[in-house]
């Protein structure tokens, strides 16, 4: 018998990738006639290295990540939005340390905020605070790329504010940190996306399509009855101990891709930061026409 087409995907232990595990458990991949190999990775860096090395075909990342890959030639394509802030489930929160009195964005003027620089977290922090009326000068950021370290510095008060992703941010909240803002009020900025390598897209369009369909099916399952997937989530996704039961399983968007406006805003930020010399074109990097924008 012929081997079913195989897709290799690297997964960080974050809630955004939950649909893959659900689809796997429900047998949606087998149903669609594809084989999916998952590789657990510890950091975004390593995930990107695997892609660079040609050892994986797909990953969940951010718009800016895919843009970086496509700096010179198109090497990755965004096929869908993996997760976006919705309802009361943000992706990221800007927190202040328990001992500080900071609760509103304007109090953050001039206060160093721990972020991972040149990532969606910095982008989001810039945009959220900018929207709240802070000037570029007033937004001060400090690089702390390791998440637990960032949280530790925040909780110990060594640093006054930090932007953290859920569920770590949620755990920090429970440990006493104040929420200054989260991204639910501006859901445009912080979508994570499902990207595939250009080779996989051109060489195996059908398999990719089948994979995305299976993902969406799983996403719908989760949206329909989130709580039933808690055991699976706790097994596959890193959720801090103190919020293992209280962390709300987020809703997942179905059949959407990032909009041109979303993409262009990221490009503007990246060129401004010098990460890109010139913006990458929306049309080359995002697969349109299949899903709604």
């Amino acid at each position: 018998a012929q081997q079913p087409p195989t897709l290799r995907i690297a997964l960080l232990p974050i809630p955004d990738v939950l649909p893959v595990f659900v689809a796997e458990e429900k047998g949606y991949f087998k149903e669609a006639g594809i084989r999916v190999e998952t590789f657990p990775v510890g950091s975004a860096l390593e995930r990107d290295q695997l892609m660079q090395a040609g050892r994986i075909d797909a990953m969940v990342n951010e718009i800016s990540g895919t843009a970086s890959f496509n700096r010179e030639t198109v090497r990755m394509k965004i096929v869908a939005v993996a997760r976006a802030p919705k309802g009361s489930s943000p992706l990221f929160r800007i927190l202040s340390s328990p001992g500080s009195k900071i609760t509103t964005p304007d109090q953050l003027a001039g206060v160093p905020i721990a972020v991972s620089k040149h990532t969606v977290i910095e982008y989001l922090t810039d945009r959220l605070l900018g929207d709240s009326g802070l000037s570029t000068k007033e937004i001060v950021k400090k690089s702390v790329p390791v998440l637990p370290e960032r949280m530790q510095l925040l909780l110990s008060g060594q640093i006054k504010a930090a932007t953290l992703p859920d569920p770590l941010a949620f755990a920090a909240m429970k440990a006493g940190a104040h929420v200054v803002m989260d991204d639910t009020r501006a859901p445009l900025y912080s979508a994570s996306v499902l990207s595939v390598s250009a080779e996989a897209w051109t060489g195996n369009k059908q398999a990719v399509g089948a994979f995305v369909d299976a993902w969406m099916k799983a996403a719908q399952d989760i949206n329909a009855d989130p709580e039933s997937f808690r055991p699976l989530m706790l097994k596959k996704i890193r959720v801090p101990k103190n919020v293992r039961q209280s962390f709300v399983i987020p809703p997942f968007p179905v059949n959407t891709v990032p909009s041109r406006a979303q993409w262009d805003d990221v490009m503007a930020w990246m060129t401004e930061k010098g990460i890109l010399k010139k913006p990458v074109a929306y049309g080359t990097s995002v697969v349109t026409g299949r899903f709604k924008e």
């Binding site: 232990p13 510890g42 755990a171 959720v239 801090p240 101990k241």
Partner: protein, 249 residues
């Protein structure tokens, strides 16, 4: 250089460990933060976890470290000996080593992935690659510093380059290799910490970073650190034992 060192005794080890626990306890009381839980919490947890998953993580890491050390020694030691013997070669390779040596090899992980794929071999190669240089440098320096009379007198028995290598440089550098190894064991275990974060679900690096540190389970994290310390100490003792057998006179 080659004296018998009767420096580690069971008694001393016990005392040393107790001292360490004491320092830890005091430090944790002074710091009084969840990031440094006291040994009174961690040690019982450790003893409970060791026969379970933690033991398996430890085994996985041990296997990787041993394989990497082996790989590094069998490549670095002969090259170090050769460089120590051949100043001309060393004059070219030396600067090369000096430049490559401090570069964080983790950078080459993608290259290793391309070449070796996503197997355990990649991790082992990375660790071996890192300690390779440490062993190389120490062995070379030792070989270059051998007493002249020794070499002359063995040459006068008919030894050429190869026999000198076999009967003088090799045995003379065993202590150096072991010293180098002692230095490298620390590095090797530390690299595990990075290398095991991805592409595996077994190993102390994975356990510490992914399973515990990232989800803020500090006491559990420290059981992992204790296991790492244990692994390092066991390797250290192993090296010591070999050393005692070889270092005579």
């Amino acid at each position: 250089m080659s004296q018998v060192r009767r420096r580690s005794t069971p008694m001393g080890t016990l005392l040393g460990s107790l001292t360490l626990l004491l320092i830890w306890q005091v430090a944790s009381m002074l710091l009084a933060r969840p990031i440094l839980p006291p040994p009174t919490v961690v040690v019982p947890l450790f003893l409970k976890a060791l026969p379970g998953d933690l033991g398996l993580h430890l085994l996985a890491s041990t296997a990787r470290v041993l394989a990497a050390i082996l790989l590094a020694v069998i490549t670095a030691a002969p090259l170090g000996l050769a460089l120590g013997q051949l100043p001309k070669l060393d004059r070219i390779v030396g600067p090369l080593v000096a430049i490559i040596y401090p570069i964080p090899k983790i950078i080459f992980l993608p290259v290793i992935y391309v070449l070796l794929g996503i197997t355990d071999l990649s991790k082992i190669t990375l660790i071996a690659f890192i300690i390779f240089f440490q062993i190389l440098v120490v062995v070379r320096d030792e070989a270059a510093g051998l007493r002249r009379e020794l070499i002359i007198s063995v040459r006068s028995l008919g030894a050429g380059r190869r026999a000198l290598f076999r009967y003088v440089y090799l045995p003379a550098s065993i202590p150096a290799v072991l010293t180098a190894l002692r230095v490298s064991v620390g590095t090797a275990v530390a690299v595990l910490f990075i290398a095991e974060q991805s592409l595996t679900s077994w190993g102390l690096g994975y356990y510490i970073v992914v399973e515990t540190y990232q989800v803020l389970m500090y006491p559990e994290m420290y059981t992992g650190i204790m296991a790492m310390g244990l692994l390092g100490a066991a390797l250290y003792v192993l090296i010591h034992t070999i050393e005692r057998r070889y270092a005579k006179g």
